[in-house]
Symmetry: C2
Subunit: 83 residues, 2 copies
């Protein structure tokens, strides 16, 4: 069966996010002063072949831990959908 993993890898809350800070300033300069805070991470879409959703979940978690997220600085979360 085919599954899709939608993964978000974000800088940990405890850490500064200089890219987010820069975008926040730019949005203020563009007239969007109501923006309070910006954090920027990665969105990764994996297409997987797996026997069931649990197997797909395990594969997505392995991919995050081994390659996609640097767990010293980043956290990850994901959802699995069919197809």
């Amino acid at each position: 069966m085919k599954f899709t993993a939608h993964i978000n890898v974000m800088p940990l809350k405890e850490l500064l996010d200089p890219q987010g800070k820069a975008v926040n300033n730019s949005l203020h300069n563009l007239g969007l002063g109501q923006v309070q805070d910006v954090r920027i991470g990665k969105h990764i879409v994996l297409k997987l072949d797996a026997h069931n959703a649990d197997e797909a979940k395990t594969m997505a978690e392995t991919a995050c831990k081994k390659l996609l997220a640097n767990q010293v600085m980043e956290g990850f979360e994901f959802t699995i959908t069919e197809g």
Copy 2:
């Protein structure tokens, strides 16, 4: 009221995603050969002050169009949540 916009900016389907291709190869080398395709974009979380969800939605869309997404190469989607 406070709202949060969860924005995904992804390379358009019609375009090659070399970063995704490289990650796909790396996942195969790590033993995750069941991964078929990888696409990598940005996940951006905006904290906003707005009077209602519609205003928050307009602000998020403006931010995407003016700064966050390069619409020649990227598409965006977002959801708004309260708080």
